[in-house]
């Protein structure tokens, strides 16, 4: 299967076959990001490094991301330069690889791609895994001047304004989470949310609608039908996507931004674990 050339940025998506042919490219860094924290150690794509969404990308004290200096250090010890093409892949239909890619974009790293179908597809195709810990030569990644929160990241106040002004908010969680019937994801433990429901005015478009059974992304035409024809979004309007902690909404952010070419999409990473716990935050339920 090849990448749909009609995507707005088809270069942001690569097939497992493409990755297989480029495993030894010097200017390419394969990055595995998973929810299962020991999965990389059980075997990974030959030459891939591991970026742990929690340990490597988040501030370890307050709920926030690392600072530019930390990002430069992470890239330097991972042998990544600003010119390196980072190809992200992982478990869970690429939730965490999209999340890691989104964080890389917060720091302005230009060359980023997702391996379509993620780790499961690579394995299903019988492609090789390695348990060798990848050592890449240290690079000297310059400290980015800033973290571009304003461009692709939304905060509580942004989401509240979006709700009050009836601009599009996309809730990508499961339908029962959206309705307020449950306060945890199906198949997951409770993550400490006190209230169920959704941000007033939000539209329910579960992330899963964007993928096929093998976790590859749907075609451009199928995605456009979901987000433009059925939901009525337009590529130039301000859109905010959210879930529980920002990983599933990173997936939708990737779809809207890279595959459909929407120009003003932000990921509200505080998501429901912030909104559903915040005193006085307005909540809508649709039982």
């Amino acid at each position: 299967m090849s990448i749909d050339s009609h995507y707005a940025h088809p270069e942001a998506l690569v097939t497992t076959a493409w990755v297989s042919e480029h495993l030894k490219d010097e200017n390419l860094c394969l990055i595995e990001s998973n929810e299962d924290i020991l999965l990389y150690d059980m075997g990974h794509l030959p030459g891939a490094i591991h970026i742990d969404w929690q340990r490597d990308l988040q501030n370890q004290t307050i709920r926030d991301y690392i600072q530019p200096v930390d990002f430069a250090a992470l890239c330097s010890r991972s042998g990544i330069t600003p010119e390196t093409t980072c190809v992200f892949y992982g478990d869970k239909s690429n939730w965490w690889s999209c999340y890691a890619l989104w964080v890389f974009r917060l720091f302005g790293h230009e060359h980023v791609k997702i391996m379509d179908g993620g780790r499961d597809k690579w394995i299903a195709e019988g492609r090789p895994l390695s348990r060798e810990v990848t050592q890449r030569a240290y690079s000297d990644y310059p400290v980015p001047p800033t973290r571009n929160d304003a461009e692709i990241r939304a905060f509580y106040d942004d989401a509240l304004l979006q709700s009050r002004t009836a601009l599009p908010l996309i809730d990508v969680r499961s339908p029962d989470e959206f309705k307020g019937l449950v306060t945890h994801m199906p198949e997951y433990p409770q993550e400490g949310v006190l209230r169920g429901g959704h941000i007033p005015g939000a539209h329910s478009v579960p992330w899963k609608q964007a993928v096929n059974k093998d976790s590859t992304f749907k075609s451009e035409a199928e995605l456009r039908k979901i987000y433009q024809e059925d939901l009525g979004l337009s590529p130039d309007e301000k859109i905010i996507a959210y879930c529980r902690i920002g990983e599933r909404s990173s997936h939708t952010w990737f779809v809207l931004n890279y595959l459909l070419g929407f120009q003003n999409v932000r990921n509200y990473d505080g998501s429901w674990t912030e909104w559903g716990n915040r005193v006085g935050a307005p909540i809508e339920k649709s039982l």
Binding site: E35, I37, M42, R55, H184, E187, P189, Q190
Partner: protein, 160 residues
């Protein structure tokens, strides 16, 4: 309550390891999880096969209690179960082997961070506790059945 001797020895083993060594050892336990599955023709006193809403895949817990009243667990895990939970299935099947079902109920869950390490115990990894809960659930049902039938093998007639 002190840990069962076999579990205590596993906890001690982890206590002396550095974080990378802990990781390696957990992976080794995860790889052994397939050996904790029921053997052909093995008979059990209780089988609890289900997929709960808070777990990503089916987890089956099998309990056999021998003539001396000692418990022996087997566990089958679906392919989507996380690696850490796989590690825990090996650790628990080995660590709880040979204790009584009543002793299973008293095993404290506080050994988990000692084995897994603080870095790996996360909100999304809480299912490492899930397996112990399931095993205790099976042990409890077995004890209740014994009480109802008045079987003396439990050696205990205290109410549940």
């Amino acid at each position: 309550m002190p840990y069962p001797p076999k579990l205590e020895s596993i906890i001690s083993l982890f206590g002396g390891l550095s974080d990378p060594e802990k990781r390696e050892t957990l992976i080794s336990y995860a790889e052994q999880s397939c050996f904790q599955e029921p053997k052909p023709n093995e008979k059990f006193d209780l089988e609890d096969v289900r997929k709960d809403q808070e777990c990503t895949d089916t987890v089956a817990v099998y309990l056999r209690v021998d003539e001396e009243g000692n418990a022996h667990f087997r566990v089958t895990l679906g392919p989507q179960v996380q690696t850490l939970t796989r590690s825990m299935s090996s650790i628990l099947c080995k660590g709880l082997d040979g204790i009584t079902p009543r002793e299973v109920l008293e095993v404290p869950a506080d050994f988990v961070p000692k084995v897994v390490g603080a870095e790996l115990v996360r909100v999304r990894s809480q299912t490492v506790y899930y397996l112990l809960t399931r095993m205790k659930g099976v042990a409890k049902v077995w004890l209740q059945q014994q009480q109802r039938s008045g079987d003396p093998v439990t050696g205990d007639s205290s109410p549940e």
